[in-house]
């Protein structure tokens, strides 16, 4: 116990004396959280709030073309600019402007699109009527025409997400216009067949209402946003970077001969390792607290949503403690195995980046390939992230995040065991 306490006290004194290093341990992660959240939030905003400029050439100038144009214009995602039609070659001009990057997307609604749509709808309806009735409409004179056409031109650098957005929007507006035209054609047919005037009051309205809701475990809803996603992810990432100073601390002791001196002391080296783990464990906890505090109090000042910590604070504390323990364990094992400061800093930082990448810190696991989704299961950062998402977004309790807690604890014990074994067998602890 004396060894453990002395080791812990010594580490605390050393840490507090290195004010520059200590500041880095807190300032850098906080800066990381703020910058990454702002960046990711602005990306979301680019999709959600910033309107995507679209160059449109409406050669139809009838119901179909006008409705598509108005639909895109009224959408909150797009800012629609009309291509001048009186130029010599409006189609060529539109293509040129998109190809040059002036616009990412250009849309051409081909001429006669509305007539073709009306004609084809009328043709389809009459075709479904019994022969004697269809003759009433002079069915023989109606021929199916080519489908109305919309051409979309993309700048080669346009992201897939933008392509999907515009395609979905056009499909939606096109379906709406089709339904409207269908309604009008039916009205005119009724008039012709039964001499009945349809009451068009209100016109065609959407019949289905889609409501977006989030499922949580206890019914309390925390609306997911960039802060709710980013703060826990980058908190975990920053906490694991404690491996660099911790591993460096162990290697420095080996290089200065201190470890030699300590290895000549009777008894196990485990209390000395645990002293380091304890100190850096609390550093990790303080890092997490400061980063979560930034999410709660600082990010709203920067115009970002506030981090909501959820209703299961005990689960959050336990999870944070085990993430810190796992990160400290990883630092100890790297410090014990690496032969030099260079080795430990390069391997330590790159391995954390790799574990973060495969663990879903940068890219959500669900959009990874099947193989990468399986690989992500080996990353302790993934276990931690799943735990945080469960607590912060699904309001899960301690029991429900037990798999994450057990995985992180097992990882710590494994790291500690390897470090202890390595220190016991190598030339100097």
């Amino acid at each position: 116990m004396l060894k453990y306490l002395a080791s812990t006290l010594k580490e605390i004194i050393l840490l507090t004396r290195d004010r520059g290093g200590l500041a880095m341990l807190f300032i850098m992660p906080v800066a990381l959280i703020i910058i990454m959240t702002l960046l990711q939030d602005s990306t979301f905003k680019a999709l959600e709030e910033r309107k995507l400029p679209i160059l449109i050439l409406n050669m139809d100038q009838d119901t179909f073309g006008i409705n598509i144009y108005e639909g895109l214009s009224s959408s909150s995602f797009f800012s629609v600019i009309a291509q001048e039609e009186n130029s010599q070659d409006p189609v060529g001009s539109l293509k040129k402007r998109v190809a040059s990057g002036e616009f990412q997307i250009g849309i051409i609604i081909k001429s006669d699109a509305s007539n073709r749509l009306r004609n084809n709808i009328r043709y389809n309806i009459i075709k479904q009527l019994p022969e004697e009735d269809s003759l009433f409409f002079g069915e023989m004179s109606i021929q199916r025409k080519d489908k109305p056409k919309i051409e979309i031109y993309f700048d080669p650098i346009t992201k897939n997400s933008f392509k999907q957005s515009i395609t979905s929007a056009l499909n939606e507006f096109s379906s709406g216009v089709e339904a409207k035209v269908l309604f009008n054609v039916y009205s005119s047919l009724f008039k012709e067949l039964l001499d009945m005037d349809m009451n068009n009051e209100g016109g065609f309205k959407k019949l289905v209402d889609i409501e977006t809701l989030y499922a949580t475990n206890d019914g309390q809803m925390t609306v997911p946003n960039s802060v709710q996603h980013n703060v826990p992810a980058w908190t975990i990432f920053a906490m694991f970077f404690i491996v660099i100073p911790l591993a460096g601390n162990i290697i420095k002791e080996r290089e200065t001969g201190i470890s030699q001196r300590l290895k000549v002391v009777s008894g196990s080296t485990l209390p000395i390792i645990l002293g380091k783990v304890t100190t850096y464990f609390f550093v990790g906890i303080l890092q997490a607290v400061s980063m979560l505090a930034v999410g709660v109090w600082v990010l709203p000042l920067l115009g970002l949503p506030q981090l909501i910590l959820g209703s299961n604070i005990i689960a959050l504390i336990l999870l944070t403690a085990l993430v810190s323990l796992a990160a400290s364990g990883y630092g100890v094992v790297i410090g014990s195995i690496a032969n030099s400061q260079e080795q430990s800093s390069i391997f330590g930082s790159i391995s954390v980046v790799i574990l973060a990448a495969i663990g879903g810190i940068w890219v959500p696991v669900f959009i990874m390939s099947d193989i990468m989704q399986k690989v992500s299961m080996i990353s302790p950062l993934n276990w931690a992230l799943r735990g945080y998402y469960d607590v912060l977004l699904r309001n899960s309790n301690t029991f429900e995040i037990l798999p994450s807690l057990i995985s992180l604890l097992s990882f710590f014990v494994l790291c500690l065991g390897i470090a202890w074994r390595f220190n016991s067998t190598r030339k100097s602890y």
Binding site: K3, A6, K10, I13, L14, R261, V264, V265, G267
Partner: protein
Amino acid sequence: MDVAIDVIKLSKEYKNTSTLAVDDISFSIEEGEMFGLLGPNGAGKTTTISILCGLLQSTKGEVIIGGMNSITHSDSIKKIIGIVPQDIALYPNLTAYENLRFFGNMQGIKGTHLKHRISELLGIFGLEQKAKQKVNTFSGGMKRRVNLIAGILHAPKILFLDEPTVGIDVQSRKVIMEYLMTLKQVGMTIVYSSHHMEEAEKFCDRVAIIDFGKIIVHGKPNNMIEKYDNCNNLEDIFIETTGRSLRD
């Protein structure tokens, strides 16, 4: 006198090397004796001391310390030995007192006993006024003195010193060597490696000159000087036995 250290046919071969760092050496050191291990750079002194302290495992041979086998009783042996490494094995950002308190705690010493012991030793080595200063503000000689104190805080029966006076001023060396003589007088066995022939000749009861992992000559300094006709001191014997060629 009882034998404190018995080294029997000791060899050490490092991985990926073709030569032996220590090559079949045998010697004994009696209790209360000051034994000098001398030799040029890379001769095998540090390797020998590291094996005796339990920091390295030998390839062949046996080491008995205090009547205990170094492999089977390594933990018991650690309780009776102390080491002063060649490097300044101290935390530069801790004060002298904090360093010594930490190493004392590691040896199981605590409370007022430790406080008094630190105070006593800092006083002996002229560092009492510097106790609360960080080690990184100390001169080389002051650091060497604290380095030595850290190795003797727990009053070991056997003390291993690996070049304890390298790179320090005459005054610091004098204080260190005089205190080592005091320790010897109270019965501590001291194994000491050095390049300082004059120092070894003056303070050691017996010396062994080691080169290429082998003991070339060993015995009492005066007897050795008498034995070599052309040599007037230990340095002459050292040059005579190890040659004049430069070592890496």
